[in-house]
Amino acid sequence: MQQQMTIGKKLALISAGLIVAMVLVGGFSIYNLVGLNKSTQHIVTDPLPGIARMAAAQTAAMTLRGDAWRHFAELNPSAKEDMERNIEQAKARVAKELQEYEPTITTAEDRALFGKLKPAWQQFVDAYPEALALSRAGKTGEASARWDANIKPRFDAARDLLHAEVDLNRKNGEADAAESQQTYGNTLWILGITLALCSLGGAAVAYVVIRGMNGTLRQAVTELSEGAQQVASAASQVSSTSLSLAQGSSEQAASLQETSASAEEIGVTAIKNTDTSKAMVADMQVARNIVAGVNDAIERMGTAVVAINGSSDQIAKIIKVIDEIAFQTNILALNAAVEAARAGEAGMGFAVVADEVRNLAQRCAQAARDTAGLIEDSVQKSREGKLKVDEASKAMQANVAIACKIGAQIDEVSLSSQEQTRGLEQIAKAINQMEQVTQTTAANAEENASAAEELSAQSETFKGIVDRLTAMVGGSEAANGHTSQIRYRASAVSSKRPQWQGEPSASPAALGKAQSHQPKSAKPGAPVVTAFASDKDFPLEEQFKEF
């Protein structure tokens, strides 16, 4: 919980706690001060004026008594008149004091006492003019006796009650004072304890928070220094990667140009193919016509062969007839020979003739047989020829079908070639786009390299800041430990990657290129911020920002 709270929150919390404590202490003090003030005010408004008035009334009463006594003793009537005036003044004074005192009565005890006092005084006031009249008449002794006998107890009672009033008021005042004292003492104690507690608590919380903060900061500094180092190494990596990327991009651009040239050649070939296939389509049409003509010729030949067959059959029939005639002739000749033989000597010549006839018949038959054989052979051959012609016709028809198929395929090839040409145009466009992209990539890679250089420099600055922070947080000891650690790690990294030495001049070529593309002052500090934003592993990013 404490780890997740920000420093600002912590400080705000501490401040709030302190302020709350302060407000509580202040409120408590004010409350007690108000109480004290009230007690004092009470003392001032109630007992003290009461005392004063009662004392004044008492004094006036005493003066009145003294004047009365002197009145008794005086002989001079004018002096007696002066004294009577004084007595009247004193009486008026007492009446005034009593009248003024009455509204200030607060306690029941006081009221009861005052209730007794007022009639007692009135009794005295009612009684004493009698004695004064006696005195004024010169009857001093009677007056004095009357005073002692009748008036003095009333006066004493009134005087005692006045005393009692004064005492009561004093007692009240003393009680109030004691209460004030008590309140003061309590307030002092509580304030002291509260202040001490607040101070101790605040100190403890502040100690804990500052300790935690310090620890967190120390850890942050450590991780920050590691981060800086990693950023530096990453920057060098990014730099080298960007360089290789730029190199690769240029190589890619070269291959793309070669590819583009090849694509153009292929396009030319495809166009040639299209033309060739069109010519082939035309030739194929011609071939198809020729084949159709040949097919017609073959069909005509077939009918001719059939006609030949018919003629041959007729010839064969004729020859058969001739053969039959020859056979009959032969039989006739033989019959003649038989008859001649039967005739004996007379038939000798006839036998010769019959023999000749028979020979002729046999020759005729032989010729007929030969011709029949020839005709048979011819018929056979013409039949074979017919078969061959049929086969040729079939083959020719197949040929026509194949020619049609080839024509369709050539059409397809032509279409495909046209599509290929279109596709190649698209490929050329794509290659152009790719070239542009590659160039952009190369430019970006160089910008990356420059950004990496910037990052490296910023990480160096960062390291300085980390050192200062380390000094601020943990003193020289911790700072030394961290820096040594950093150096150790830096040496480890540098042994792995010789191009990174914690120096911003890791790859001066890239820096030079980057400067040509993007001025160094264009975005100062921007790559560092980007690096932090992208570094998800950094745990105290928020705190550090607030810090």
Binding site: D323, E324, F327, Q328, N330, I331, L334, N335, A337, V338, A341, R342, A351, A354, D355, R358
Partner: protein, 177 residues
């Protein structure tokens, strides 16, 4: 009856060498050529429609009408035990005059084909060789040697046994009556 046959045999044997020379009609039967005396032949004709006659041996094919005369026809292939063959254009009927016991009669024999009329000298004719198993070959007149080939000369009168001829004669009589 036996005595007459013996006499004839003897006379034939006596006259063999002198009488066998002369003209022969040569015909084919199967792969062989046979010869019969021209004087026995009455007529040569192409194959004709033969009217079959019931209850005859298989080699007697039936009868034909030869210019108003009904004569029996015998298939010589079947008579000689050769396999029967379909008649062709070349098949001929040779009408021969047979000397039977009941007198002369005309008869047709079916042969595969007629070749020629051949004049054979007696020197060209040899006797029938003895086949050594005592088989009587009275229907053979001899063997004619012509151009390295042998033609079998038939005694047509004896080719048909007297029994056959009797049967045929009876047939003829029945037909005539």
């Amino acid at each position: 009856m036996e005595s007459t046959i013996l006499q004839r045999e003897q006379s034939a044997a006596l006259n063999k060498n002198e009488d066998r020379g002369g003209k022969y009609l040569v015909f084919q039967l199967g792969r062989e050529e046979f010869g019969i005396r021209v004087l026995k032949v009455r007529e040569i004709m192409g194959i004709q429609d033969i009217t079959a006659v019931p209850q005859m041996p298989d080699y007697v094919k039936g009868v034909i009408n030869l210019r108003g005369k009904v004569i029996p026809v015998m298939d010589l292939r079947l008579k000689f035990g050769l396999p029967e063959q379909e008649y062709t254009q070349r098949t001929c009927i040779i009408v021969v005059q047979v000397q039977g016991d009941a007198g002369r009669m005309l008869m047709g024999i079916v042969v595969d084909g007629v070749a020629e009329v051949l004049n054979l000298a007696a020197a060209e004719i040899e006797d029938t060789p003895d086949f050594g198993d005592g088989t009587a070959t009275p229907y053979l007149l001899g063997m004619a040697k012509v151009k390295e080939k042998v033609k079998i000369l038939l005694e047509i009168d004896r080719v048909l046994t007297s029994q056959d001829l009797h049967g045929l004669n009876d047939l003829m009589r029945e037909v005539k009556s």
